[in-house]
Symmetry: C2
Subunit: 188 residues, 2 copies
């Protein structure tokens, strides 16, 4: 392994996940990851700012998909547009459920990785808020709709990773929204 | 300053906030904070695990108040119980709006502090979920209600810190919930 420059980035991401699962995050260095991926440590740091970032390489792609989906959505209620964008982006993650599952277990085992994941979700909520604002949604509504959608995505993702019944991520997000609608409608 | 042992913890928290605002978080050491608070560095580390934790000394109190409020609430819909708990806990923060405002500015300026804050919010959501479960709320509903309530608290808090119109934090949370109810009711 490790002679090909193509997909060095992907190889490093896979190597990091393997090593974090085998030895733990704290016990793995950037040099270990580079070594397993067949690249130099210098190459590692050309691609990733630190050994946390290597696990979040898909965040930018997910965020771009969500923002594009919000921008291109047909007219609808803001919460539907925001949640619909996560449902539309779900196949990006669904393609690799085993990977997502192993990654989630590694993140759950380390506070520092949890913090980075939460920051990525927060950045995603801000980006979704901005995309709704660009459609002319008022600031308070855009903020509530985007943050709610990201929260439901997080819950749907957690359920999708945990469940073994073949329910898709898209369906889990849709169900979480239905749960919320029922909860929000109960009184008030 | 610094001769009194009583409230050493509060003095360190205030000193940290002052120094982070003056010099920046990265440029401040635990020794600097201890020095300004009139304690030894050893005392600092007896109270706080690291120089991030010193800014989150109120988290445990907030969480305890939210959990107690959920446990003691009259029967109501889960989302109302969860949001009601944050409204009930709001005075803890309202007492010190200037402090909350300066603290929010310091946190916004540093990624590492943002991550810690997001982790505290995530822990709070898990604690609120657990408190709803203890009341007999089904797991999916408890999770959605608790995470939604924490999200609305976050939005309400941000608006409260930003606004100068005298609106209380409790009122901001209540308004954010009303926004969500309207957004969730628009279609679906």
């Amino acid at each position: 392994m490790g002679r090909w420059e193509p997909d060095a980035r992907g190889r490093m991401a896979r190597a990091a996940l393997e090593l974090y699962a085998e030895r733990g995050y704290e016990q793995t260095t950037a040099a270990d990851i580079a070594d397993r991926a067949g690249v130099t440590e210098r190459t590692f740091f050309r691609h990733f700012a630190d050994k946390r970032e290597v696990l979040f390489d898909g965040s930018a792609q997910l965020q771009a998909a969500v923002v594009a989906s919000i921008a291109g959505a047909d007219d609808a209620a803001p919460l539907d547009i925001a949640c619909g964008a996560f449902v539309a982006a779900a196949p990006i993650l669904e393609e690799r459920r085993d990977h997502a599952r192993r990654r989630a277990a590694v993140i759950a085992a380390n506070t520092s990785l949890q913090e980075r994941e939460l920051l990525k979700m927060s950045t995603l909520a801000s980006a979704a808020t901005g995309a709704l604002r660009k459609r002319g949604v008022a600031a308070p509504d855009a903020q509530v709709a985007a943050h709610t959608a990201v929260g439901l995505f997080g819950i749907g993702f957690e359920r999708w990773v945990a469940a073994d019944d073949g329910t898709s991520l898209a369906e889990q997000i849709t169900r979480a929204l239905a749960d919320l609608r029922q909860l929000a409608g109960t009184s008030g």
